[in-house]
Symmetry: C2
Subunit: 177 residues, 2 copies
């Protein structure tokens, strides 16, 4: 949960997981830092039954966004040393999980849909991560080739895996098993 000093005037927003992500990664150490890290790991999106009607037409997409809650991230930090770098960076200039609100976004390949289960590839989330949303990957909205990519410009995620530097306790392991 978000524990840093939020504005007291800001209203809180309450979200409810729509499902859970099943992946081969039980702990941060060894998990790909992004789905493109080269392992093509497969996973399963287990959507809660009441949302299955919302999957209609999704099968026509090759890639989809998964938006999820980084439930095992340690507390919020404004400066972080990313897995792909040796220098501390502002958290908003990284994809580190220790960001405010702990929201993660990942593009995965959609391999198939069976009722409430989506088989996907290129996963980089921890097993049992709470799912918040699914969106289609639409090149016209999402695909850009910026000429400036900051400190990532000369870095490659290929083969890079995480360690436990950003990992804390589990959010809901007791009722997700």
């Amino acid at each position: 949960m978000h524990k840093s000093g939020a504005s007291s005037s800001a209203k809180l927003i309450v979200m409810s997981p729509i499902g859970v992500l099943r992946t081969p990664f039980k702990h941060a150490a060894g998990t790909p830092v992004q789905g493109v890290s080269g392992r093509s790991a497969e996973g399963v999106v287990e959507l809660h039954a009441e949302y299955v009607a919302g999957l209609r037409d999704l099968a026509g997409f090759e890639r989809i966004w998964l938006i999820y809650f980084l439930d095992r991230a340690s507390d919020v930090q404004m400066k972080v040393q990313p897995f792909m770098d040796t220098t501390a960076r502002g958290v908003f200039a990284t994809r580190s999980p220790v960001r405010p609100n702990h929201i993660g976004i990942s593009v995965v390949r959609l391999l198939g849909i069976e009722e409430n289960r989506l088989l996907v590839a290129d996963v980089d989330m921890l097993d049992l991560t709470p799912l918040l949303d699914i969106k289609p990957y639409v090149p016209a909205f999402d695909s850009f080739s910026p000429s400036l990519a900051g400190w990532y410009a000369d870095k490659s995620p290929s083969g890079v895996v995480a360690d436990d530097r950003f990992e804390a306790g589990s959010f809901d392991s007791e009722d997700s098993n």
Copy 2:
């Protein structure tokens, strides 16, 4: 807020806005359906002061992700008729705001940073939308050219604007002015 029948066993997730988005769009009607709709509208991200340290190194990126709460979306629907289509689609196969948890993601161009204010272009959010996260746009993670883009394949957002079909009341207009 999410009002559909969430699993009672799922734990709720509480988020706190990290800032607010200022844009030219006061109502859904007439707002671009995506930043790429062709208007290149400019906006300002007003980050709460306690998060400014997290902006370090962000200026080197040409494009950034804004992740925000679609606070004026009407209640959750599993089938929607998107602005760019004439057929009802499953909500997860669209970018409609009436999705569970009401999370929006948009790529914007970063024009400049002045203390807690980010000047951005290609905005498609309503004015005073609560901001949840900022991430760098990293082509290696985010830029793909899928061969299948579902029902979007033969659609173009160019010039398409929204109407009020998904709009409800305001989330926090009374304390954001």
